[in-house]
Amino acid sequence: MPIPECPPGDTRLAYYFAQAVDLAYYNDDGPAKFRDQLGLEAKLISVGNTQVYVAGDDANIVCAFRGSESPTSIDGLKDWFLTNANNLLVLPEGRAGTDFAAAGVGARFHRGFLEALESVWAPFLAAVEAAYTQKERPIWICGHSLGGALALLAAWRLERAGFPVHQVYTFGAPMIGNAAAAAAFEKNLGGRVFRVIDIKDVVPKLPTISLTSNLYEHCPKELTVGQGTPAALAADLAPGDTIAPEAAPGVWAAVLGQIEAHFMNNYLSRLSQG
């Protein structure tokens, strides 16, 4: 299935990239699945704890970042404790520091995400450059969860490196930086970034439980999938003022539902319903 031709931010595009980021969780059989499901020739770039597929066909280049793996594995534990929890707001050193300072001298970014992107940056940029030099095509970037954060940061750096980013789709992605950073991303990538979130998914509200967190802010446009409003969600979580014993299983189900809302399967099924 080729990338559907429709306006930026259309649900059909979001569904296409939801499939791509779902496939980004596969290792050895990933390239075959990219070929079968999306008609893309894909190559996995994996350095340290960061994985990204650079895929393409005759008309497009697609970069899909893998999100955090389940904390039941060593890789997952590394994702959660060394990357996601490492949420001091910083400007990195070196060339990356110059590229991100371009957002303004007051912009600060999530250190764990910066380090995760830095580990894969050189081979990733080389792969995109090779593909783009071979034939100039629209570059699409996508990712789920942690991968969505990396997709946004990668979009910024690719553009700074002189590669035009066509559109970015993130699914249940957390925030990546402070207000100055978000404003700069909005100014430079606004209209090309689509942040797909389920109202029940809590991860896009992260990191809000940390000491530094209220400094974080979301950048560009948000697309909401699934039904419900914040008020209805609050009512699900705490029906009435106190939780009656008979309501407890329902509350627990609502909490589990919020966690499940973050999984890629949820986003895929929401988007496939149109």
């Binding site: 110059t98 300072a101 957002a103 035009p164």
Partner: protein
């Protein structure tokens, strides 16, 4: 070294030390609960203090990070022996000091108060490879200075008033490779013309609506 940088540098040792101290305190506390050779509540004071001190040390870097104001002065860094200077979003107004930094290799000043006169300060910048004057008041007149920069490879002109005519004056530049033209009135034809001028050139321009 400024306080923010110091805090970032010390954050890993502080967090690891703090968490380790809190964990040791926790096991010490549990041990004391079961082995009451010391008198009961008093024996728990030392491990409880260790837990609290550990947590305080571990949480210091994010707390300090939040309290220390962000320095909005110029960001002047040596990166692999090259001067990278960023003034984008700074809280100052006087660009005159730029005349004293001719060894700058990357200059980022995407500010609305940058004009053709500011760009004229860069006449002696013989090493300048990347120049970001997005969001500035630069016009085609400023490009006359820019086209004489001998080492320039990347030029950011996003959301400026430069025109097709201005971009055409850059066509013969020997080293210029990438021009960023998002949010300008420059047409796809002019951008393509620039790209066609030399192999490997790129121009970033908005898609037609």
């Amino acid at each position: 070294m400024d306080l923010e940088a110091l805090n970032v540098k010390l954050s890993y040792p502080l967090i690891i030390t703090g968490v380790a101290a809190a964990l040791i305190g926790f096991f010490w506390f549990v041990g004391r609960l079961f082995n009451r050779s010391k008198p009961f509540p008093r024996g728990l004071v030392a491990p409880a203090v260790l837990i609290l001190v550990g947590l305080a040390v571990a949480s210091a870097p994010p707390v300090i990070g939040k309290l220390v104001p962000i320095d909005l002065g110029p960001r002047d860094k040596m990166v692999e022996g090259e001067r990278h200077l960023t003034l984008t979003g700074w809280d100052r107004k006087d660009y005159a000091f730029l005349a004293s930094k001719p060894d700058t290799v990357v200059l980022q000043m995407a500010n609305t108060d940058v004009t053709d006169a500011t760009v004229a300060l860069l006449a002696e910048y013989s090493k300048l490879r990347e120049l970001d004057v997005s969001d500035s008041k630069i016009t085609d007149a400023g490009l006359e200075t820019i086209k004489k920069l001998p080492a320039l490879t990347t030029l950011y002109l996003n959301r400026t008033a430069v025109s097709d005519a201005g971009v055409r004056t850059l066509a013969d530049h020997a080293t210029l490779k990438v021009i960023h033209l998002r949010g300008t009135a420059v047409t796809k034809e002019a951008a393509d013309q620039f790209k066609a001028g030399k192999p490997g050139r790129r121009a970033l321009i908005d898609e037609p609506k």
